[in-house]
Amino acid sequence: MKPKTKKRVTVLIFLLPWIITFFVFELYPLLYSLFVSFTKYSGLNPQTTFIGLENYARAFQDEVFIKSVLNTLIFVAGTLPFTIAIAILIAILLNHLNLKFNGLFKAGFFLPSMISMVVISMIWIYMYSGTGFFNTVLHFFGFAVEERSWLANQNTALGSIMIMDVWASFGYYMILIYAGLQNIPYSVYEAARIDGAKPIQIAFKITIPMIRPTLFFVIALNTIRSFQIFTEVFTMTNGGPRNSTETIVHYLYRVSFRNYEMGYGSAIAYILLAIIMTITLIQKRALRSDYL
């Protein structure tokens, strides 16, 4: 064997575990669900009937699906700015203040990211309940609140999940941004200060541009994750009351595993893929990032 071929074979062997899992657990399901999305398939018995684009056409006439798209957009637009803004703010504070217990704060803010979302949801279900934390506080300050879980009210359910989600996820993005900030050499700041730059100028002319790749990565990641919100909805509301918290992925699940319409469910999954891809490309343009 020539040394070059030998090297290639070695590389291939090392890559093999990934290649196999990629084909078995990613590429095959991806292509199979694309095929299924053009069929009528219950999932229970193996019979599939080809129906062309009917599933896709149906999605755009399905009022629950349209509602779930709107809810998901509200969720993304309502959580992303807050999550990212809080994450940036705290990352900058931690980076510049150099507090005595810096590590403790970092760990504290990051802690929710290490707890399972199901556990967090269960805890917040109690906090949102009729006689839970939030209603007790409101009651204490003299607000007349009806004794009903915030999650059982169609006007507050989605907002409640959004608040919880911001709390639960900003710590993770904070750590990523903090790492980005640490990469900015101190000499740049020093030079800016000698040239007489004001703090605001430093923030917008140095800090933000220098962490732009990180920022794009964080925003893109958060967008993709938010579009896929499922665990919180599944644990806390099951999409209700009156579909007010129905999101795309939860509806996809409901259609596929509750109603046994795997074909329609797969079509919804591909529509979601198209939405996420479009938005990520727009973000990439907007932030002019070469990353990703």
Binding site: L44, S149, A152
Partner: protein, 404 residues
């Protein structure tokens, strides 16, 4: 020499494989590990050749697991299914048709839950229903008879009014809302059934919400809502436990929750009220656990043996004694002395004579989601009852037409 040894080894392997036990898998929801060990101990002794593997599923994602197992073409041999899921699974043709077996079980009741197009696809195993819970202390405080809870809708309304007048955080009744299943199953649908109505016609081609029976039940429900706490089931139960709710409808699982979490609470049980003295029935929601066998099982005989064993009255009673929220479908089980020692649970057996199961329609889950929204509009927004019924009648008709 080596060759001979190999041949011998192969021979031994084949023989031992042939003699090895039949492997039978049983997926179920109701029994935790200690319960299933106790219940199946006798079966394992009687059938040493069957290697039984029991898996407990959770109500949260058990149905998904069953679905994926069927989709993968590798379902368990014996599966416990909720009675409302039966039409979906039967219509997909993945369950064994057991119509010819029925005559072997003259003491088992509730076969109608397993029927699909005149064929039967499962064995009714365990039943459960809901009764009226009431707070004895609040009844006395409000000057109501603490021994005779309300029997009719009118009496219920009057009692609820009196109890809710006792204080600001005290409610006459507890109605479930804001989640799936409980709003329809606790009382709305049974109230409709008790009033002689239904939401679908008998062959599931027409939505029948625009009938007087449904409309009267809905109007009563709306009136009752004015004196009620309206929250998720856990919220209602908590408020009842704290002694702030006069009455609510719930299953037997609430007994143990209430007794352990709120030991001071003084409550008792009654029939679910009926429309009026001379009209309607005390209808309540019938939950049922069905034993089914996968159509393509390789162990049909072993599976049948297991089902036969589980349906025995003494075996099923073992489960009731450990998980007293369900009781055997075998009518001989009522002879067990356990019932006399546990009068609260006996109430559920009495109530069961009036229990009604949800329509066995393949798309029932879709219909139930619409009904849940409808109930919310009636009891939370106090929307005009007849207009709301009309709106949802059209929506449900749409479902019926789509999946004709």
């Amino acid at each position: 020499m080596l060759k001979r040894l190999l041949v011998l080894l192969l021979l031994v392997l084949t023989v031992s494989l042939g003699l090895a036990a039949t492997k039978l898998t049983f997926w179920q929801f109701m029994m935790d590990q200690p319960t299933s060990d106790a219940v199946l101990e006798q079966f394992r002794k009687e059938n040493p050749d069957i290697q039984l593997e029991v898996v407990q599923l959770s109500w949260g994602n058990g149905k998904d697991k069953i679905t994926t197992a069927f989709a993968a073409g590798n379902p368990p041999d014996v599966i416990e299914l909720g009675n409302t899921w039966m039409p979906q699974f039967s219509s997909e043709g993945v369950l064994m048709n057991i119509t010819s077996e029925i005559k072997k079980y003259p003491n088992i009741t509730g076969w109608y839950q397993t029927e699909y197009k005149n064929q039967y696809y499962g064995f009714p195993w365990l039943l459960g229903t809901r009764v009226l819970y009431y707070n004895v202390d609040l009844f006395i405080k409000a000057g109501l008879d603490p021994v005779n809870p309300p029997k009719t809708w009118e009496e219920t309304l009057a009692a609820a009014k009196k109890i809710s007048a006792l204080g600001k955080n005290i409610y006459g009744f507890g109605l479930c809302s804001g989640e799936l299943y409980s709003p329809t199953q606790q009382w709305f649908l049974p109230a409709v059934w008790g009033n002689g109505g239904n939401v679908l016609n008998s062959d599931y081609t027409k939505a029948t919400l625009n009938t007087k029976e449904v409309s009267d039940a809905a109007k009563f429900y709306q009136e009752l809502a004015r004196y009620s706490i309206k929250d998720k089931q856990t919220g209602v139960e908590q408020a009842f436990g704290e002694g702030r709710v006069g009455m609510y409808v719930a299953g037997a699982w609430s007994i143990s929750t209430l007794q352990t979490t709120y030991p001071k609470l003084n409550f008792y049980l009654g029939f679910v009220p009926k429309p009026s003295k001379d009209k309607g029935t005390h209808a309540s929601f019938a939950g049922g656990e069905i034993l089914t066998i996968a159509k393509n099982t390789k162990n049909k005989d072993a599976a049948m043996k297991l089902v036969e064993y589980l349906l025995r009255d003494d075996v099923a009673m073992l489960i009731t004694k450990r998980v007293p929220q369900i009781y055997p479908s075998n009518r001989l089980a009522i002879l067990d002395p356990w019932w006399n020692e546990n009068p609260l649970y006996q109430m559920f057996v009495k109530q069961n004579t009036y229990a009604v199961a949800a329509p066995l329609y393949t798309r029932w889950e879709d219909v139930e989601i619409e009904l849940t929204s409808m109930i919310e509009e009636i009891i939370l927004d106090y929307n005009d009852v007849d207009k709301t019924l009309k709106k949802y009648n059209d929506k449900i008709q749409g479902i019926l037409d789509r999946y004709k």
